[in-house]
């Protein structure tokens, strides 16, 4: 692995409090609306063709009626040591100096190798051209590019909102601070289970929460160093 460059730029990270998550999937809907995510339809979705940059995984413990459901929102973990990055033969996926796992749609030739090497299965391939049923086709977000067939896509941490927030802070001549950037999922979380911010700033909420005793990272034993932290009492 190459040396990490000492970056003055904000380092984006997210904290998700699983003890607060109700599994309502508002984040999923918000993400679809914000990021021009294709609608697969019932049949293709059952065949594994649905695209959800963020999904709420449900795990059941026990047998009915003595049952517990656990919800876990999972999106691209923006790993600092991302397994998807070295395997791309054309650098279509790479690490930005803000710690984001970038995906360049125009560079992607569609080997799908990155998706195969992602332990979190958060990468989505455009197998066919996207179709939006009326009137959804009229509600595309102009700030997000529409992906056509043959390229990989995944959660960007709402890069368009990050750029906007950074520009605003720059215009006001100050450093980035909490509240400047909120991805669609974070903004729409009714239970306020999700927090987003600059983990390089020790005073930020994400920096504080990620040091919590309840904090863990998904499959951190793989050494991927995810930028998403989960909080859970672990019972």
């Amino acid at each position: 692995m190459e040396e990490k460059v000492e970056s003055k730029k904000p380092q984006w990270a997210m904290v998700i409090d699983l003890d607060r998550c109700t599994g309502c999937e508002a984040c999923v809907v918000a993400c679809h609306a914000e990021n021009n995510i294709r609608i697969a339809g019932e049949g293709p979705a059952a065949g594994g063709r649905s695209v959800n940059w963020i999904r709420v995984e449900r795990y059941y413990e026990g047998e009915y009626p003595d049952i517990r459901v656990k919800f876990m929102p999972v999106m691209c973990q923006h790993c600092e040591e991302a397994p998807c990055e070295p395997v791309c033969p054309v650098y279509a996926t790479y690490h930005t100096d803000e710690g984001l796992n970038g995906q360049v749609y125009n560079r992607c030739v569609g080997t799908r190798y990155c998706a195969n090497n992602c332990p979190y299965t958060v990468r989505f391939f455009n197998f066919l051209d996207p179709v939006w049923p009326e009137p959804l086709s009229k509600s595309l977000n102009p700030e997000v590019s529409v992906r056509y067939r043959g390229v990989m896509e995944k959660c960007t941490f709402c890069i368009q909102r990050i750029r906007k927030g950074e520009d605003k802070a720059k215009d006001e001549g100050r450093e980035i601070r909490d509240g400047d950037v909120n991805p669609a999922c974070v903004q729409s979380c009714t239970a306020r289970a999700m927090t987003f911010g600059n983990i390089a700033d020790p005073t930020s909420e994400v920096a504080r929460l990620s040091k919590s005793g309840r904090a863990s990272r998904l499959m951190e034993e793989l050494g991927t160093k995810p930028r998403v932290t989960y909080l859970s009492r672990g019972d």
């Binding site: 033969p89 195969n116 332990p119 979190y120 391939f125 066919l128 051209d129 067939r149």
Partner: protein, 452 residues
């Protein structure tokens, strides 16, 4: 005249007959295999027009028939060059009638296998982005990606095997040139590079073939090792394995020999080359196949036992789906095809006949295709997070493409036998001459002695 003298006087006419005379069978073969190829081209056209979604791929199974075919055909390609090179380097005299069939398999199987990394791309028309060429965007490919290693390894191997096929063809091209008339004569004159059979030319050819034979062995080994690294370099269960390099190379040689035996049996039958491709060749290759079958079983056993014993949750899910789950029928069919039936056939001398080795080979080719499928799909369909488990079913497009590869292979091979002598004439004659001069020396004599 003794039997041997009859053979000697007929060598040219026997071995050049397929080049100059074409039977109805050849046209039928070309028509059938050509239609398969056309069907596959139609399927590919449909895929280009509609997108790769016309395949059965999904999330999480992003590779399936495409990469199975890729690994399978690259594996078949190890028949040739590697076998012929090893036999040449070790001076195995019985190789002489076998080498050219083997080398031709390599080139054609490689051409077919190398198509799949392009065919399977989401945007196949951009495949050249993997090549490091100066461009206005200042972009360079990623040398850390095993796919890029593949790109270079396969191109090197293809170029090397083409040279290795072409060099020993030169004297035979000159032979065809001398027998042909008109346009054909002109084409072969150019192709034979002015070969006149002088002492200098012979010694140069021998040197070149000798050097290429030595060079091509490490290239062939590295190619399939790198193909295996496409899987082994990832962190997926039952892919991330140190054994994969040698396991894949052994499997490749295994399926390659099987393909070679089948091709030889067909050539022997349709071109009436019984006096050249003899039971001894099938016996010797059968013994080689037996060795590889045992080696394959050993590798498979070692690989699965460690997964089982490790008992990691993620690995166990994949392991169990193969042993007793959804993929169990295919898995056990693979074990039967690669080991349970072929091993006794090849081990028992009475059964190691031409038809015996061909039957074993046919099973092995099927079994090795299944092996590649079972390495790829079960691992992909069961990612670490069980919420994302999926399954895979091929569509008619993938099945047509797969059938088309076999059609394409047969077509290329059939055309090859029309253009070039499929048994190397000069090599065969050289063997006879060596045997004559050696007199009672045992080694070269064997070829003639075993001619039953």
């Amino acid at each position: 005249m003794s039997k041997e003298d009859v053979l000697k006087s007929n060598i040219n006419s026997d071995l050049l007959r397929p080049v100059f005379k074409t039977g109805i069978g050849w046209y039928i073969t070309v028509a059938i295999s050509g239609s398969l190829l056309l069907a596959a081209m139609g399927a590919f056209g449909y895929q280009l027009y509609s997108g790769i979604g016309v395949w059965g791929l999904n999330r999480p199974v992003m590779w399936a028939f495409d990469i199975t075919n890729f690994v399978f055909w690259i594996g078949i390609s190890h028949a040739g060059t590697l076998i012929s090179a090893i036999l040449r380097v070790t001076g195995a005299e019985w190789r002489r009638p076998v080498t050219r069939c083997a080398e031709a398999i390599t080139v054609f199987a490689l051409m077919i296998g190398a198509m799949f990394p392009i065919v399977h791309l989401g945007r196949p028309y951009l495949f050249y982005w993997l090549a490091p060429y100066p461009n206005s965007r200042g972009l360079w490919p990623n040398y850390r990606s095993p796919l890029l290693w593949d790109f270079f390894a396969i191109n090197t191997y293809l170029l090397g095997s083409l040279i290795y096929l072409y060099l020993p063809l030169i004297p035979d091209l000159a032979l065809v040139r001398d027998k042909a008339k008109g346009l054909r004569h002109k084409i072969y004159s150019i192709a034979s590079l002015g070969w006149r059979g002088t002492q200098v030319q012979w010694s140069r050819l021998e040197k070149a073939v000798g050097v290429m034979a030595v060079i091509i062995i490490p290239v062939a080994v590295s190619v399939h090792t790198i193909v295996s690294w496409d899987f082994a370099m990832t962190i997926r269960p039952m892919w991330h394995s140190t054994i994969f390099g040698p396991y894949f190379v052994a499997g490749a040689i295994f399926s390659g020999i099987a393909a070679l035996i089948m091709a030889m049996a067909v050539i022997r039958k349709v071109f009436h080359l019984e006096a050249y491709l003899k039971p001894i060749h099938f016996n010797n290759l059968g013994l080689l196949l037996l060795t590889m079958s045992l080696l394959w079983f050993y590798f498979t056993f070692a690989e699965y036992l460690t997964s089982y014993y490790g008992n990691e949750r993620v690995e166990k899910a994949v392991f169990q789906s193969k042993i007793s789950g959804a993929y169990a029928p295919l898995f056990w069919a693979m074990v039967v095809c690669c080991f349970v039936i072929p091993m006794p056939i090849l081990a028992i001398k009475k059964l190691r006949t031409i038809s015996g080795t061909v039957a074993a080979s046919a099973l092995i080719v099927v079994g090795m295709w299944l092996e590649r499928f079972l390495i790829i799909v079960p691992t992909l369909s069961q990612p670490a997070l069980p919420f994302n488990w999926g399954s895979y079913r091929p569509t008619w497009v993938e099945i047509t493409l797969t059938a088309g590869t076999f059609g394409y292979f047969v077509l290329l091979y059939a055309v090859f036998t029309k253009l070039f002598p499929i048994v190397a004439v000069w090599e065969f004659k050289e063997g006879l001459t060596l045997a004559d001069h050696a007199g009672s020396v045992a080694e070269p004599q064997r070829l003639v002695a075993h001619g039953d």
